[in-house]
């Protein structure tokens, strides 16, 4: 987990989102994917 963003450095999800994932419906997952795409734009990759 990144100490700065609180996101998993691999999948860009929060701890909350990873824990919720396996029980979540497709709407939730699509919303998180939307967030992931937004986060990708903001995070500098080396």
């Amino acid at each position: 987990m990144s100490p700065v963003t609180g996101l998993c450095e691999g999948c860009l999800r929060t701890i909350d989102e990873i824990v919720a994932w396996s029980r979540a419906d497709d709407d939730y997952k699509r919303a998180v994917w939307g967030e992931i795409r937004r986060r990708e734009e903001q995070i500098p990759f080396d």
Partner: protein, 302 residues
Amino acid sequence: MPTLPPSVRVLERGWLSSNSVLLIGADATALVDTGYATHAAQTVDLVRHALAGRALDRIVNTHLHSDHCGGNAALHAAYGCRIAIPAADCATVAAWDEDALSFRATAQQCPRFAFDESVAPGQRLCLGDLDWQALAAPGHDPHALLLWCEGEGILISGDALWHNGFGVVFPELVGEPGFDDVRATLDLIATLDARVVIPGHGAPFADVADALQRAYGRLDMLAADPIRNAQNAVKVLMKFLLLERRRIPLADVDLLCATVPLLVRVRERFLNSTSAELAAWLVQGLVGVGAARLDGDVLVDA
């Protein structure tokens, strides 16, 4: 998406770490498989969050590959939980025999842990207030176990069956039989008529018959051409190292092909290539399927 009882929570991550399955009972909690060592702090965070203040009482490992037991030591340090491992691995773990454990051969990491319980095929366990039976699942690993909950029709399959395929057939890579064991394990899974499979990697799935059909097809293809199994294995091993390290200079890809014991054995037994030739083939192959990209002289995970 298949439904699971409230006591079963799947923590699904990328492919470096296996899935972890949290089983939350009224009186006791358990975690099946613990992910890879470099994710151990995240594993502890996820478990702590999901348990909401309760302690983790027990770890059960389906098999002792680094991506399934790499969090054992950290979770034990955090919770003092009991650790249950396949019975056939007990002597190896007690002695922490690096040559018999897979970590040195694959250049993968796994912090040392001790075990408190052994789990033998046929043995029953109460996890998350559900009755589970351990079943032998040789093939990917000779000592691997399935966990089968007949009451709910849930199978925790480890790397014996995925939605699309199964884990590398490691025994074949060192000249020991494995394909027949994979087939026997798939046959066993077919008899269970599971409603849901929670695989070691990827999302839980309900279309078990289709997954079995894909697995049999893959097995037939690999068993007919063991070199293909070997080629697949070296790609998976290098991708795993790349997932862990994220960037590997090309010179180090060559060095890994020359020094990682399992890569050396597979190269000599099946591939008849130099480390440089294997490194070049791997780089081309991984980049070709989009599993890696080149950044100058550095192979980068993709």
